[in-house]
Amino acid sequence: MADIPLPRTRVARKLPLIGDISPFVALAIAWVVAMLVVALFADWLAPYGLTRMDLRNRLALPGNAEHWLGTDELGRDVLSRLIFSVRISLLIAFGATAISAVLGTTLGFLAAHFRGFVEQIVLTLADFQASMPFLILALAVLAFFGNALPLLVCLIGLYGWERYARIARGLAIAASAQGYAAAIRQLGATPARIYFRHILPNIASTLIVSMTLVFPEVILLESGLSFLGLGVQPPMSSLGNMVSYGREYISRAPWIMLAPAVTIICTTLAVSVIGDWLRDRLDPTLK
């Protein structure tokens, strides 16, 4: 009996090579890594404490030896505040993205598994979420539940779940019809095992691409809420808070506003660039 090689149903993906990364993408990755390092090691990196005041050096210009990015009108070091703000903003953005990815994927799987009524409920909720401006919903919730940090993370975590849910549902329905899912089902695996151990790894790349596309929007949402004074509350500080605080001194000390603003733009830009690049690499089916 001749050996007949099994036809490969899935072509192995070509892993991205270091060599053909464009300098733009490399810069974006470097920026995101730098932000992660800043967030993780904020306590060591910040030259001064978050609320440490230097009253003899108020509204100092950027570029001096003691305060690289200058000081605000209470003499607080802008660089140190920026570093701690990056930590809070990234913490919220990562927490919220994780929540919405897990929630959306689970709901998508439930819809794909049960179909019928459950699927209709999930799709109706997804339509609802997509058709309402999220900022307004978030403001309504914050008005009445207050803005404690865990609540804020959970609330922003509701942003974008419907995109994961739609993708997970569509891909899971398609995957269920494929041989590997049927095989594992015949072997007696529970639905949870089929979905999370077998289907999830196969559709993970698409979901990861979606995460990188939602992530910048989450950063913008949090900074917007904080800018309105309804997000992160003092004495904690996020990038949005810093911009909001800095606008009071926009004529005398624009650097207080510009430093966090530039950080927000660079971070969202870098993550979008990485997201587009990953999309082209991993999943050409996504537009």
Binding site: L125, L135, F145, V243, I250, P254
Partner: protein
Amino acid sequence: MLRYFAIRFARALITIALVVTFAFVVLRLSGDPALIIMGPEAPPEVIAAFRKAWGLDEPIWRQYIDYFGAIARGELGRSMRDGRPAIALVAERIPATLALTLPALLIKLCLGVPAGMYAALHRGSLIDRAVMVAAVAGFTVPSFVLGLTLVLIFAVQLGWLPSGGQDTWRHAILPIVTLGIGGAAVLARFTRSAMLEVLGQPYIRTASAKGIPWRAVVTGHALPNAAIPTVTIIGFMVGTLIAGAVVVESVFSWPGVGRLLVVAVANRDLAVVQCILLLVAATMVASNLTVDFLYGLLDPRLRGARAH
């Protein structure tokens, strides 16, 4: 066709019901409004009287049904701060918001759609690259940063325009430009990708192969097909006419609906927040429904097809 519209209409009603339920759950279960408004030191009989006046002493399911009834009758409650009807407070702010969002929508349409189409038709050209860079910037620069940067340049440095307030038409320029530029970039990106997708379709090649002049191919074959996804995003923009300026109004101290919402949220003014929430929901649903109807007209495939 009729079935398609009926399903869309039912969906719209469900969305409204969901928003009302959302408002009710959030606003009622988040805490005792009587204690929030009157303060914890208020005497018990005052709190009891407040509860009775607002119907807060009824069982929760009863309040829920009453709530639907009240909304159906257009009774959206009074501002718990100054006692005026919430709907009047919101209504008097609508013109100020529309004074910003309508011109901004015009900028988005007049700038975004042609730029996106031109970029798609001249792919790889200098203008295409410029449009793409602007589109990425429009997506990554938060509106408050854009607004404050414009203030820094045109109000602080050059002194040409006021930085905030609502006294003259000159006060409206910076907020309108802030809203318009960001939206135009998003619309340009959308139009460009919709157009590119259509230009790659076989029917465009067929039309060219038949010898139809390129201009006629674009206007007769490409544009109607590219209009469908573009209409969706324009519909969404129309839906945010009321609510889309929350941040920009705050940047420029513009007394519109968005500013009212932020203040009401900070003051925990239940009635005003829920009134704005319902108003926003109604505009969104109405514009989505209009888009769906337009789809039915624009896309002949939908006329006979079963709606999914």
